[in-house]
């Protein structure tokens, strides 16, 4: 077989041309990437170097197995194939380049190694087919939020050329009669070429020409890559490996408006974005008509970085110039964007940093201001006296233990809504009765309990979160208990993951986990089977944030009801719209369909008579939504506690 890099090209030794092109291409590519690295280096640090086993496992699942992309099975499968085609082709490229540049290396060219030739042929064909499927989807069946950009078209074209040139080269070789182990694709191309009038004697020459077309295209692609959305090729493995291993929350800061005020990891998301639109499709804010698009946010971050490279200086702002306050406040922190993103982008931390800045500048809307002022003063967002926190207990025929005064096994942290909202108090009492019935040794903190601070933190008021946390920790320190149970997923998340416990802390569980345990071990014996068709809404802070999906379903299965899943269930659950402090904010004009309304319609559409919830805010949001959506007669909304009480009543 000939050495494609031997010979001349326009009078110059081909190898020299190859060297020159390679140096230029790698030089330009390296220079641009170095530029990005320099920009990231100017940003704030953020350590993501811990727990390497977990990170490597992520790499395997998300990059090698493309797990997130497979959530949309057809395009997921196609992309998986394209990805592995790319891996082989990239390997082959570097192999070929090395061999071409350094002919003294005792190795053949990639396609001269039989096993490699087979792989290239196979992945080439399969890759082309997958590419065709992707192109058809993009141009004829585009899902919402997938933009038809010139960049996308160029990339599809370039990859096609890369694959086609390789296959054509193999075909040319087969046409020339050279012995070529293959799977028949090369022969197919040989036939095509023959049909096009190419003579077998021209085969070898065509092979060389195709080799050059292939190499130059890839070198060109290398130069183009850093400027296109295909930068995700380079960035996504890093994004995934350096992704947050738990729901991301930026370390305490004064917020960010300019490039240098963000952390490198927050900026990195902008570089890694492949503009696929999965985040947008999942975002409850965008889908309701709020002016927030997670994809646009990533795009603005990227734009800001590009502008910084283009013109230098420190004045590049994300807030105001590119991202408006209305967009910043629209986020419900439901994490659907992060859950869906295949390249590991972290949209929510960027928004939280922006919120912190708006908060520091005092630019917050009146309703939110009132809620925060109430939290700071009264320890609850309702603006009611802290002394009234345990008033809900007055409807019980027993007095729950005061965990401030006597030791208890279970400390029950109720959260604001369960304690203060008159519509929820009956459910809180039902939970108390259930715990009592099960013989649980539990107590509450009465007036000493404060809001956990979770939502204040997500609204950008870090100082308020710290104050509330300190007060709660002080109350915990004085009480004696072994475990915590909470009926509020927002509190669950803060207590379990964001409070700095000493000595490893205590187990913190959600009431569904505890109730399932009690039912399972027959400490809450079921007295009757319930009827009806129900569906279950996974709260964001219980499901996506803390991975509790099964316990509520186990409970429902055990109660005898017929259970049906909504399409958006589990980690794909659709937020009710209350999170991120949004329950304290006004709706903006132009909302088409509130998230909660969309959700109750979804529940009704699967035929459920009852939408079961496990979060007090969900209960409130869905009760309102069933009225505004006109579903009062068709759909009931109940907390799982209510059903358990019904089923365990003696």
């Amino acid at each position: 077989m000939t050495d494609p890099a031997a010979g001349t090209f326009l009078g110059l030794p081909a190898r020299v041309v190859l060297w020159v092109l390679a140096l230029i291409a790698f030089g330009l590519f390296g220079w641009r990437v170095a530029g990005y690295i320099r920009v990231l280096a100017r940003a704030r640090p953020e350590p993501r170097w811990d727990q390497w086993p977990a990170r490597l496992k992520r790499f395997a699942l998300e990059i090698l197995f493309q797990r997130k992309l497979l959530e949309e099975p057809l395009i997921g499968a196609a992309h998986l194939l394209i990805f592995w085609a790319f891996v082989f082709y990239a390997t082959s490229f570097f192999w070929n380049l090395l061999r071409g540049l350094l002919p003294f290396l005792p190795i053949p060219y990639a396609d001269q190694a039989a096993w490699m030739a087979v792989a290239l042929e196979l992945f080439g064909a399969v890759g082309l087919a997958a590419l065709a499927a992707a192109a058809v989807r993009r141009y004829f069946f585009a899902p919402p939020r997938l933009e038809q950009t010139r960049d996308a078209g160029i990339i599809l074209a370039l990859i096609s050329v890369v694959l086609l040139s390789s296959l054509t080269g193999a075909g040319a070789l087969a046409l020339a009669g050279e012995d070529h182990a293959g799977v028949g694709i090369a022969s197919l191309f040989a036939g095509l070429l023959s049909g096009l009038g190419v003579a077998p004697e021209q085969g070898a020459q065509l092979n060389v020409a195709m080799w050059w077309v292939h190499m130059v295209t890839v070198l060109g692609f290398l130069v183009y890559l850093p400027y296109s959305k295909h930068l995700h090729l380079l960035a996504s493995p890093f994004g995934v490996v350096f992704g947050s291993l738990k729901p991301p929350m930026p370390a305490a800061s004064e917020g960010a408006a300019r490039l240098e005020e963000f952390t490198w990891r927050q900026l990195f998301s902008g570089l890694a974005c492949a503009e696929c639109g999965r985040c947008d499709r999942a975002c409850p804010a965008l889908n309701s008509g709020y002016p927030l698009s997670p994809k646009e946010l990533m795009h603005h971050v990227k734009e800001m970085i590009m502008a910084s490279l283009a013109s230098g200086g420190n004045g590049h702002r994300l807030l105001g110039d590119r991202v408006k306050p209305e967009a910043v406040w629209a986020c419900m922190t439901c994490l659907a964007c992060i859950q869906r993103c295949p390249v590991g982008n972290e949209h929510v931390p960027v928004l939280i940093e922006l919120r912190r800045r708006l908060m520091a500048d005092g630019e917050i809307e009146a309703h939110l201001q009132e809620a925060l002022t109430n939290l700071a003063r009264y320890g609850n967002s309702f603006g009611q006296s802290a002394r009234n926190r345990a008033r809900w207990t007055q409807g019980l025929d027993f007095k729950p233990k005061d965990a401030r005064k006597e030791p208890v096994t279970w400390l029950w942290f109720t959260g604001d809504y369960a304690a203060y909202d008159p519509r929820l108090q009956p459910i809180t009492r039902a939970a108390a009765r259930l715990f009592q019935r099960a013989g649980l040794d539990f107590g509450i903190l009465y007036e000493a309990e404060q809001n956990s601070g979770n939502d204040a933190r997500r609204a950008g008021e870090e100082g308020l979160f710290e104050t509330l946390m300190e007060k709660n920790l002080a109350a915990f320190a004085k009480a004696r208990f072994e475990r915590i149970v909470t009926t509020d997923p927002h509190s669950l998340h803060a207590l379990k993951n964001e409070y700095p416990w000493q000595n490893g802390g205590v187990p913190v569980v959600h009431h569904t986990e505890l109730l399932w345990e009690l039912i399972r071990t027959n400490r809450l014996p079921l007295s009757k089977r319930l009827n009806g068709l129900v569906t279950y809404h996974d709260p964001c802070y219980l499901g996506r944030y803390n991975g509790v999906y099964e316990a509520p379903r186990q409970i429902l299965r055990s109660l005898g009801v017929e259970f049906v899943e909504m399409p958006r269930h589990g980690s794909r659950s659709y937020c009710c719209g209350a999170g991120g402090g949004r329950i304290w904010m006004e709706d903006v004009p132009g909302i088409q369909e509130r998230p909660a309304e969309s959700r109750v319609r979804e529940a009704a559409a699967v035929g459920a008579g009852t939408l079961v919830v496990a979060c007090p805010k969900d209960w409130v949001m869905f009760q309102d939504a069933r009225k505004t959506a006109g579903l009062e007669d068709k759909l009931a909304v109940k907390d799982i506690i209510e059903l358990v009480e019904e089923a365990t009543n003696p």
Binding site: M359, G362, Q384, R387, E461, G463
Partner: protein
């Protein structure tokens, strides 16, 4: 502009108010204090004026539980000086307190001459007077209350918007220096994040000043006979039942009176 804002803590009516056993004061056990709401507006108006016209804002507050928080928050919002007045007993009625504040204003070094003294137009404890006119009288300055806007400082006068009734307002011209009782600032009192207040705690020094004269017995001229929870002259007839039941009953009621 040199602006002075007089602020104070009053009982928070969100909490249950209990009357002390002597029936002449509130039970301090149940009491929590909060910034008087219109004083907060007075501070906001002062800060807005400072932003528009330049100058400085000094906040003066009589000592009380949690008043340090009031002063640090004011500093975090933008007040340049914060001063606590000692030696003034908090309690029902304002006449004595206002007297002491007015005397202190004249005596605190560097405070006067000021252009405006702003304070809330009323508070929930104004049994024996209103602070703004009392301070104005003591200083010999003009006074205007129910103020909702201050602008156009020129030639020793200032334009003040005051609320009348039925939605009417009046544009007044007030000679400086003057005392204004603020009903509502042009914008709601700004929010200042907890982190900023904490930072102010480290960066700000609360000046302390002894009220310069023996403060008269509060309310010596107005004898308190007794405090009581109001006995309503009447009470509404309460309608019970589900929302649908009540709606039905109300319909009946309205129909009986020919209102439907």
């Amino acid at each position: 502009m040199n602006l002075v804002v007089l602020m104070r803590m009053v009982p928070d009516v969100v909490e249950e108010l209990e009357i002390a056993s002597d029936q002449k004061s509130l039970d301090p056990e149940a009491l929590r204090l909060i910034v008087s709401e219109s004083d907060d507006h007075a501070l906001e108006e002062a800060l807005l004026l400072k932003e528009r016209c330049g100058g400085g804002v000094t906040v003066v507050a009589p000592e009380a539980p949690e008043v340090a928080d009031l002063l640090y928050t004011a500093a975090a919002k933008g007040a340049d000086r914060v001063i606590q007045l000692r030696g003034i007993e908090p309690g029902l009625g304002v006449a004595a307190m206002a007297e002491a504040c007015a005397a202190a204003l004249s005596a605190i070094p560097g405070l006067l001459p000021a252009d405006l003294v702003l304070t809330g137009t009323q508070s929930i404890e104004d049994l024996d007077g209103l602070v703004a006119p009392l301070v104005a009288r003591r200083l010999g300055w003009p006074y205007l209350g129910v103020v909702t806007g201050v602008s156009d400082v020129s030639n020793g006068t200032v334009t003040v918007i005051k609320e009348f009734q039925a939605g009417y307002r009046g544009e007044f011209q007030v000679s400086l220096p003057a005392v204004l009782g603020v009903q509502a600032a042009e914008k709601p009192p700004r929010y200042v994040p907890v982190a900023k207040v904490r930072a102010a705690m480290k960066a700000t020094r609360i000046e302390e000043f002894e009220a310069p004269q023996p403060v008269p017995e509060p309310l010596q001229d107005v004898a308190i006979v007794a405090l009581a929870k109001p006995e309503a002259a009447g009470h509404a007839e309460m309608l019970e039942g589900s929302v649908e039941d009540v709606a039905g009953k109300l319909c009946e009621l309205l129909a009986e009176r020919g209102l439907l």
